[in-house]
Point group: C2
Chain length 140, copies 2
DNA sequence: ATACGTGCAAAAATTTTGCAAAGTA
DNA sequence: TACTTTGCAAAATTTTTGCACGTAT
């Protein structure tokens, strides 16, 4: 799990400066257990400029600290990612929490798919949607 | 496969009027073998207003004639869909053509996933990306 | 001193909305 | 006639860009 310090360290390792704005954005993202939009972060940081939030979130994404989550309606959100390798998400449509799934169920099917379609398959995007245990029991 | 007439008929069946603008939008979408954006359609129809194109494409989506395709970079496109039931896409990153895949490889994994996560899984989004046969052979 | 990073404001890009005018049944 | 649809323009979103000013090395 990330904390402020470990991210500071990674920024430094990769030659990026550690600045108050960046730390503020990082802190704000770490407060979210699920997914969030750029606007969610912006709203929590009145002193930080729009552009800085966009730039910082792009930077964190490139570093693998954030990753994008596709919602069912097609809009894109971010989430703090604890896995740098290939993974998928299971998003709770009720509370917005996100599970990271290590097993890639698409991997096994790709060879067959390549054979039957004649495509060379280079990638895929997969998200699952549902209700988490707490949300299921908390509601009638 | 759709043609202009079959879509006219479905519009009529569902109580929508058949108008020149709508037919123009339908024709423009049918010309695309792969995916396209609202702007692609707008650009081909100088006489038709922005709002009308947006409204018509939303309407066609609700009717199941168009469906949305997620590109690797996260942007959403449309495509003419010939399957009204659950399916996925295999998108050629080179020429933009799209195969519709009838087999849902996610289906088998969902029970296991539900058991291991405690989620009630209600849906998923899956897109594949690759290069189609013609694009593979046409390029060095 | 030199590079990098920031905030602001303006610009772009994308989608939605209000409404009077036009079209359709 | 009564209702739907259109085009336009304005508004609302969302993201990017330019740039002068600040900050770290």
């Amino acid at each position: 799990m990330y904390n402020l310090e470990s991210i500071e360290q990674r920024l430094a390792e990769q030659g990026y400066r550690i600045t108050p704005s960046r730390l503020a954005v990082v802190e704000a993202t770490l407060e979210h257990s699920g997914h969030f939009s750029v606007d969610d972060i912006l709203g929590r940081l009145p002193g930080v400029g729009r552009a800085t939030v966009f730039r910082t979130m792009k930077l964190l994404s490139q570093m693998g600290i954030l990753c994008r989550v596709l919602l069912e309606n097609g809009s894109l959100r971010y989430r703090v990612s604890h896995r740098r390798d290939h993974h998928h998400h299971l998003v709770c449509v009720s509370c917005g929490s996100v599970e990271e799934l290590d097993a890639c169920i698409a991997a096994g099917a790709i060879d067959n798919l390549a054979r039957s379609t004649g495509y060379d398959i280079e990638g895929h995007w997969l998200e699952f949607y549902g209700r988490c245990g707490p949300c299921r029991s908390g509601e009638a």
